[in-house]
């Protein structure tokens, strides 16, 4: 695993989460789980992020925001849906104000189930995302080469 895989920076967005998954995402950065040892940084800035991590289902307010911050992330990038709400809409799926999972708005690469998702599974999801990221990077580099 080269380049990207060694330094994946996260952007965490809360679609409409109950904060359960958010707490778990933050727990990943604590001494117990310490994701920084994999070079993972929770940056707050789409311009510098490689992985968009969304918690909670998508509602009509967060829909445009997710689209926009996704568009502000430079290629190659991956999306990780954390928690069952982000994956499918979860128990809120049928609510009048919920569109459903994140994949109703932007393409999702990795689904991390759970309510709330456990830090171990979040880290596992990120590691899975890294493989996809690396593939995307190769594809992007090939595309760039062909383009230039």
């Amino acid at each position: 695993m080269a380049k990207l895989a060694k330094s994946p920076w996260l952007l965490h967005y809360d679609g409409s989460s109950c904060n359960g998954c958010d707490i778990e995402v933050l727990a990943c950065t604590t001494p117990k789980y310490d994701v920084e040892r994999f070079g993972i940084i929770n940056t707050g800035d789409p311009f510098q992020a490689d992985i968009l991590m969304v918690t909670g289902g998508v509602n009509h307010q967060s829909e445009n925001v997710i689209k926009q911050i996704y568009s502000q992330m430079p290629d190659p990038k991956v999306v990780v849906a954390v928690g069952i709400c982000a994956c499918t809409g979860g128990v809120f799926k049928e609510c009048y104000n919920i569109k459903g999972g994140v994949d109703t708005v932007i393409p999702v690469d990795v689904y991390v189930p759970g309510c709330a998702a456990r830090p171990e599974s979040i880290i596992d999801g990120v590691v899975k995302a890294l493989e996809i990221l690396e593939k995307k990077r190769e594809a992007y580099a090939a595309r760039k080469k062909a383009g230039a």
């Binding site: 380049k3 990207l4 060694k6 330094s7 950065t29 001494p31 310490d34 920084e36 040892r37 994999f38 070079g39 940084i41 929770n42 940056t43 707050g44 800035d45 311009f47 510098q48 490689d50 502000q72 992330m73 430079p74 290629d75 190659p76 990077r137 992007y140 580099a141």
Partner: protein, 286 residues
Amino acid sequence: MDAVRVILYILLAPVIGGLLDGLDRRISARMQGRQGPPILQPFYDLSKLFSKEMIAVNNVQMLLNLSYLVFFVIAGSMLFAGADILMCLFLVSTADMFLVMAASSDSSPYSSIGANREMVQLMACEPMLLLLAVGFYLATGSFQVSEIVSGDISAIAAMPGFLIGFLFITGVKLRKSPFDLSTSHHAHQEVVKGLTTEMSGTTFAIMTITEYYEMVMLLGIVALFFANSTWWSWIIAVLFCLIAFFIEVFIDNVSARVKWDKLLGGCWAVTLVAGGLNGLILMIIQ
């Protein structure tokens, strides 16, 4: 000899800066009871940043950021070539101004707050930097770095106050807490990424590399306090640079961020008391 030093600075400063940054992150992690990233992590980050797609919000930010880098390299080269330290510090201010302009050019809320805070940080540091040059002139009789380091005794003997003042503002310059107002190396803050919010991929990599040049240059100035004509003074100088760096990392980990008026007031007060008094005494003694 000068040319060799300049070339070494240009080539090695990013490497040394990156290693120090890696060390910083490792030490910080250990202080927080974490394992922390590998020492080479900053280089992984850099190589990733260069491989990303170029996205931008305007067509001038990249140019201004590159100018920031080049001016910093020139300023640092002047220091390591043994040129005039006052000129060198003036050029540092000019370089910083390009960073402020790069951030302002976005016309975005977070980066303009960052840019404004950066300006306050520059204003907070400027008097100490100028007085520092004055201090070296008083202590060694010259603004020329080459003459400052060729004295019989180290400058620190005459200017301990200046060293305290300089270490204080080094915290601001290195963007260490409690003075990391304009942008921080730590995640999640109220101004997103401050003045680097809209910097992405290559542009952000340039900014990071410039910070490494800056770090090495600041440590170079710390070394100026200790270096003299004897060879072993250089060992002490390098040792003290590492100690100074450790002190900055330590303070970074034990303090919370201050507001801008505390930063400005604090820096100016320390400048006036530590640098001002030290300089006054030097001038009276002469």
